[in-house]
Symmetry: C2
Subunit: 346 residues, 2 copies
């Protein structure tokens, strides 16, 4: 339940909480406003959420050995952070809406439009933009990649919820606006569309073509057989053989690393590549994204409601923050807010 506006986010209505929902932006504001502002926002599982949890042992030092210091008041930081992520989300949604108008054949583009905007948002897309800006790039340079990431996720999410005959323990029920066949085909159409969008984002003089090609390789790897698909497969195997309760930590880590971790790592790396970051910056942001994504998966993905997550998340927060040390001196409080709201106001 959203404490401020009293709206309820039901588990069975994931499809209603994506870009399409007028509720979403209100909800972001609700959650990010003090006293609810504790970290960043994340939407992988259908609603604005937080990556920061209360420490099990507040006296334990962070794994970040050289805390990053930023001279801003907490209120200033929170306010700027809030408007920053909100503006990114709005820009990505606007870009996608322009890219996927409902046009002929309507029987194909209407479900494509619907499933794209109904799929829960992921912060990996926003992280792509933030990483681009952090290394000195313009938002526009990463917009196609950020949109492509959302499209890849929307396709995976749609296929993940298809009613197949061997899914004996299906995912939580969601509202299906279309028949299984249409949802299958629409997912199949969304994947190449996302990559087409990216390939077409080459600038007129072609000067960014090598970067675009590199980003295509990054995204296809992250969503393919060594990435999200591998994680989905492992999740399927574990949930079919073990049920929800008896996953071990190794399984959870594996799935979180391949699914959310891989997608967030990819988003951050792609943003840095497109923004013209150095190789060191690309790799640091990739790792930062990996840890942020894994936290997301542990709190709201496959690790949700499972024991022992708090300690793991705490470790990952420290590791993530450490990756941002090389950017010290730049305005990192926004990107940093995804895991370390506390540190950002030190």
């Amino acid at each position: 339940m959203c404490v401020t506006c009293s709206s309820t986010f039901k588990k069975t209505s994931h499809y209603k909480s994506g870009f399409n929902s007028l509720h979403s932006l209100t909800a972001i504001i609700c959650f990010l406003s003090p006293p609810f502002m504790a970290g960043g926002l994340s939407h992988f599982h259908g609603r604005p959420s937080f990556l920061t949890i209360s420490r099990s042992n507040p006296s334990r030092p962070s794994l970040c050995h050289r805390p990053i210091t930023i001279n801003m008041t907490q209120t200033q930081t929170q306010s700027q952070t809030q408007s920053y992520w909100t503006s990114i989300e709005a820009d990505i949604a606007a870009h996608l809406k322009r890219a996927i108008p409902i046009r002929p054949p309507v029987s194909v583009f209407e479900p494509m439009h619907y499933l794209t905007f109904a799929a829960p948002r992921i912060t990996a897309s926003a992280l792509c933009i933030a990483a681009c800006e952090l290394v000195g790039g313009d938002r526009d340079q990463a917009m196609a990649a950020a949109s492509a990431l959302h499209l890849m996720h929307a396709a995976a999410y749609t296929h993940e919820h298809l009613p197949l005959t061997d899914r004996i323990r299906p995912k939580p029920a969601i509202h299906h606006a279309y028949s299984p066949n249409v949802e299958l085909l629409t997912g199949d159409g969304i994947i190449p569309f996302g990559l087409e969008l990216l390939a077409k984002s080459i600038v007129k003089n072609g000067s960014n073509s090598d970067r675009i090609l590199r980003v295509i390789v990054e995204i296809t790897r992250a969503v393919g057989s060594e990435g999200v698909v591998d994680g989905q497969y492992k999740e399927f195997l574990c949930s079919q053989s073990k049920g929800e309760e008896s996953w071990n930590l190794g399984d959870i880590e594996y799935v979180c690393k391949k699914k959310e971790g891989g997608l967030y790592a990819c988003g951050a790396a792609c943003g840095a590549i497109l923004g013209g970051g150095s190789e060191e910056e690309v790799q640091k942001l990739r790792k930062y994204g990996l840890y942020v994504g894994m936290i997301e998966g542990m709190l709201y993905g496959v690790g949700r409601n499972k024991k022992g997550m708090e300690g793991e998340v705490e470790k990952l927060r420290g590791l993530a923050t450490k990756e941002l040390e090389i950017f010290n001196g730049r305005k990192i409080e926004k990107i940093c807010s995804l895991v370390q709201a506390g540190l950002c106001s030190v």
Copy 2:
């Protein structure tokens, strides 16, 4: 039944007649040897086949008003054509085998390998290579695109045969080596893998990056929501509402144009782009591919066993041949053999 070697190609064993089958190359030779040599070879539906059919009215002139003349004996042409297509198919298969070794995670790559090679071959891939060579390019320049086209087709074929709850008139049964969930996820992995393969085919100095990006746009469009997916959706709607017998010609043409037509057009255009063809050559070969693919769809795809196809195919043969006129003077007998074996030996 293969008349020469007496092997039978069963409708229910499509998966056994792809690249993996040792029978395939033998079968190609069987079919291409006189007196069976009547056209080119095609594998869209799981077995070597012909695109040329006997004319309903042999006295009617071809739609090609200026017949292309090639001074070769029929035997020479047939022999060279046979070895040409066989060598292309073998090269594509070898390229794919190197690209998809069975490696960890085996649970993911084993089905990927299997479904890639078990899917029936399509001539669109070979046409991509042939178009590249026709405009003066090297085979290697188009190999990644040709392989990507096969991978896109393999993914579409796999998903097309998934047992979904709303497929009340499913496609003819095929052997499923894996569970529906694994086949769904594998298809999802194959699509980005094909595009990754293509994006990585950039040469060291990056001089082909603009061409590669253009080809990525071509392929993603051809297989996406305005291409193969649109055709699959129309086919699904028609087969569910009308049954196999009551399709009208417009429906058949639409599906053939979007599925086989679009894929073959894309293959030919991509080959020409990568081989450095002029814009006119790219567009002529695109149209040639469109007609060849539509013939394929009418004879062996959705038009199979439906009335009125012979006349349409005859028209398309004429149109296809006409598109090759601008190449007169070059060695077009090989690519031309896909529709016009007769003309090639005039």
